[in-house]
């Protein structure tokens, strides 16, 4: 009979192992005074209680009062500056009223992979895009091996320009990173990884642009496919730190949310089984979400975009599916409970056509801007008025 193999001292302590080299053997834990351990714990517990962020969630930043848009019917479109394989555009409005667009672009085959690019509208057109996040900058900020980047979210809040994006690590899945600029996008802080789950893994898909709170904080929707698909509502501070998290009811992905007033907001998420959009509502500033009805709108595996129009109606842009060959608009006059088909922005009988990943933004002048991936070749920006949405000819 062979004796059982020796067990390293750290792993089994029921039967102390013989002392090896410099080990401090014996029941050394008894040497820690009991009063000291208790005092340390009490002080640490008090400090931890003191540090807890405020539980009282603020209200949403109230949207402007509904008023009919004075703009005549108008529609125009343009391609944003070219980049390699652009995708996932997002729009925001800078404090001076100019538009800023971010998207992911680049090739997986290149050494630096896909990155996040930014372009800002100038009087003479769009500024050539600048790469604002790369694998190198992400690795330098997070001190991890950063893989391909994607899914950017750009949001201007006061003088801050926030950027969230995902980075994919070959071993672990997606991580969510946050960076910011305080000088209009010229220089960016080193990104920080946001800890949103106890286990890294799965696919992350940030939803629509953040919803602003009246204290300067932000609410962010984030879908994750890991054990099962679900969407989380993150409450962030004005500097982007996580203050709270709520899970939206049901299994959903590709979520978008919009505030209706200081307490109410609606979210739309795609049910991966039925591929239909499902409503979720909050009546307490995002502290809790209730499942709403399933809408008779099917959606391709592409994020929908939501916008509150000057008239108070809601505008939805998405791909009715099953492919991405049609980019359509819907309008709701009852806070998202029912939707009417609106204009078709793009349509092609070719099943390989791709008009997807829409992003909506309301300009300072009341024009509606819609950015989307155009035929996998470019980012297209369509600008139109509410009168055009209602069927008037430009």
């Amino acid at each position: 009979m062979r004796p059982p193999p020796p067990v390293p001292p750290c792993l089994d302590t029921d039967q102390p192992s013989p002392p090896a080299d410099a080990e401090v053997s014996g029941d050394w834990t008894d040497s820690i005074p009991r009063w000291l351990a208790a005092t340390l714990f009490i002080f640490a517990l008090g400090a931890a209680f003191w540090r807890i962020p405020s539980a009282a969630a603020p209200g949403f930043e109230p949207p402007p009062a509904a008023a009919p848009s004075a703009l005549p019917a108008l529609f125009s479109s343009t391609l944003l500056p070219p980049s390699k394989a652009p995708a996932e555009p997002i729009l925001t409005r800078l404090p001076d009223g100019r538009l800023a667009a971010a998207w992911s672009a680049g090739s997986q085959d290149e050494a630096d992979g896909r990155g996040i690019w930014l372009s800002i509208e100038e009087p003479g057109g769009w500024h050539p895009p600048l790469r604002i996040a790369s694998r190198e900058s992400t690795a330098a900020g997070t001190l991890t091996h950063a893989g391909s980047l994607g899914q950017p979210l750009l949001h201007a809040e006061g003088s801050w320009l926030h950027l969230w994006y995902t980075s994919r690590d070959g071993l672990a899945g997606d991580s969510l990173n946050h960076s910011f600029s305080t000088n209009g996008g010229q220089a960016w802080a080193k990104p920080a990884k946001l800890e949103i789950s106890p286990l890294v893994g799965g696919e992350l898909r940030p939803g629509s642009p953040p919803v602003s709170f009246d204290d300067g904080g932000l609410g962010l929707l984030l879908s994750r496919s890991f054990i099962s698909g679900h969407s989380n509502w993150l409450r962030l501070s004005a500097t982007g730190q996580i203050l709270g998290l709520q899970r939206l009811p049901g299994s959903g992905e590709r979520a978008a949310a919009i505030a209706l007033d200081t307490l109410h907001a609606v979210a739309l998420q795609r049910d991966p089984t039925s591929r239909q959009l499902q409503l979720a509502n909050t009546a307490d500033g995002g502290q809790s979400w209730q499942a709403g009805k399933r809408l008779p709108i099917s959606s391709a595996d592409s994020r929908p975009a939501l916008l509150r129009l000057p008239s108070g109606r809601l505008l939805l842009a998405g791909n009715p599916g099953p492919g991405r060959t049609t980019l359509q608009l819907w309008l709701s006059a009852d806070a998202g409970q029912s939707w009417q088909r609106g204009r078709i922005i793009e349509e092609d009988a070719d099943i390989t056509a791709d008009f997807s990943e829409p992003a909506l933004l309301l300009g300072r002048d009341g024009r509606i801007h819609l950015a989307y991936r155009w035929r996998r070749q470019a980012i297209k920006l369509a600008s139109f008025s509410e009168a055009w949405l209602d069927g008037e000819a430009p």
Binding site: A37, A38, A44, I52, L143, L171, V200, S228, R247
Partner: protein
Amino acid sequence: MNPLAAYGLLAHGLIFGALVALLPLGPLRARAALIATALALLVGIAPLMHGSFGPPSLTLLALALLQHSGHSPAPLNWRVALGLLFFALIFYPPSLGRGSFDPYALGYQPDTLLAALAMLAGLLYWRRQNLWLCILAIDLAAYASGLFANLWDALFDPLLVLLALLVVGRQLLRRLIGSRIR
């Protein structure tokens, strides 16, 4: 570089060194642990661990430091490890998307969690588990410092659960071998 990233990288270097210190290297154990720590930081092992597991908990770091310093017996015995595994089985599935309740979210507004930890601390004090009480105090201090946004991240992490699995697995193996010898 933010503090959590710097902490995560350094801590994973130390943890890798502590894992090497588990090997039966005899008198070379301490030196091998130091060399492994340096190598983990220099050749990219620590960033890989950091990316794969996220920043480690203070609990795991404290255990790693105890392993580096050669203290024996170490506090993670098989009973503690079994309790940790049992808790992980309850905690991880809903936190990762199963069901509508997310226990991980409790860690961002941890009033309830802190109250539960105060009761756990009372139990540890009563059982004279002074070291675990100190480790718990260190975890809470790390959360209070702002290093972690979520208290759960200071308390435990997937790598600690894997270590617990290893501890329990070895104990079961020992018992199995022991029963066959008898």
